[in-house]
Symmetry: C2
Subunit: 210 residues, 2 copies
């Protein structure tokens, strides 16, 4: 029975090391592909088209929206950001597990289109740890800290909609936990209905002496 | 956040190496406990009370049924077999993942009492491999083979009710897959509602300057 690629959505509180966990996961295992977003914002120095982002003009992006070529897209501060469907589908077809780092609204959009998608929420080991990370080294202005806390409250709203809680306490353990969750997802019975049916049909045929 | 023990039910076709997989899992990791059944059948030579089984008289067993002390029980060939609730609950409370090897009807009973139980079904990589195992080395009588095939047809009936399909192709990989499935189960969001609520309450308090 063939491994099936899983679409994985990763969200989490700012400052919980999401990016580091994903980078480490991709460097340890070659079965993962990080989805590359398309954007209309200008490339920053050092950014390469097709590596950090697919850079598009506003016209190109809107044509893609028109043609339903995005899994999800959003507009921030006057620029479009979106996940191109083609790349995701190609990678899944190759049996890769495709990882998207997006926020709650995008995550729920994905789940409605891909019911087998796995939604992971990365959290700190405790609220105190999160506070320490948000407050920082005491060099931030009160305004910045307040903004960060307000954002954390916002981010905490949809946690129940995710499939698994991932606690990032110790990096190595966290990466392995994420790997385990994603690998297991490929063997959920709901995704294996065709395999089970084949097996049953063949066993019944044997028993009938066919 | 504390690890929570998971109640794991393992079923599968006869001859797919369930026992070997579980034995290997228990020898590799110390977070597992294999549930010990109670039975009214007589001990066989070498069997120790509390190791292979808890040996009970018919009266003792029926008193335990009366007192609702079994997670599930059944009667085969005139003897009772059952899973004592106390042992399972004690091990789960200690954070252990408790493994029960039982068949479909027992598995469904468990699921109705413990909705967080994880149901794993172990299958061969293909129906042909299963057939080879059932047919054996050509030394079995046709009657034995027919019985085995009929049993496999019976066993294949409830597969969809399980949570995950476990393919036992290569032992080492199979053991690791089972380990991943069980470990991930402890972090399902549905089992972490209290942790999420705590986190959210505390973050909101911080944001309000409490």
């Amino acid at each position: 029975m063939k491994k099936q690629g899983t679409l994985v959505v990763v969200s989490g509180f700012a400052g919980t090391g999401k990016g580091t966990v994903m980078k480490e996961l991709l460097s340890r295992y070659d079965s993962y592909a990080l989805s590359i977003s398309a954007t209309t914002r200008n490339p920053r120095p050092g950014e390469v088209d097709g590596r950090e982002y697919f850079f598009k003009t506003k016209e190109e992006f809107e044509e893609m929206i028109e043609k339903d070529e995005f899994v999800e897209f959003a507009c921030y501060v006057g620029n479009y950001y979106g996940t191109p469907k083609k790349y995701v589908q190609e990678q899944l077809a190759e049996g890769k597990d495709v990882i998207l780092e997006i926020e709650i609204q995008g995550a729920l959009n994905i789940k409605s289109q891909f019911p087998d998608a796995l939604l992971l929420f990365i959290a700190p080991p405790s609220a105190d740890v999160l506070k320490q990370r948000l407050v920082g080294r005491g060099t931030e202005t009160e305004e910045v800290i307040e903004q960060r806390l307000a954002r954390a409250v916002e981010e905490s709203k949809g946690i129940e909609n995710y499939d698994y809680l991932v606690v990032n306490d110790e990096l190595d353990e966290c990466v392995e936990n994420v790997h385990q969750m994603i690998q297991s997802a490929g063997w959920k019975m709901s995704r294996r209905a065709a395999d089970v049916e084949d097996l049953r049909t063949q066993i019944s045929a044997f028993a009938k002496g066919e």
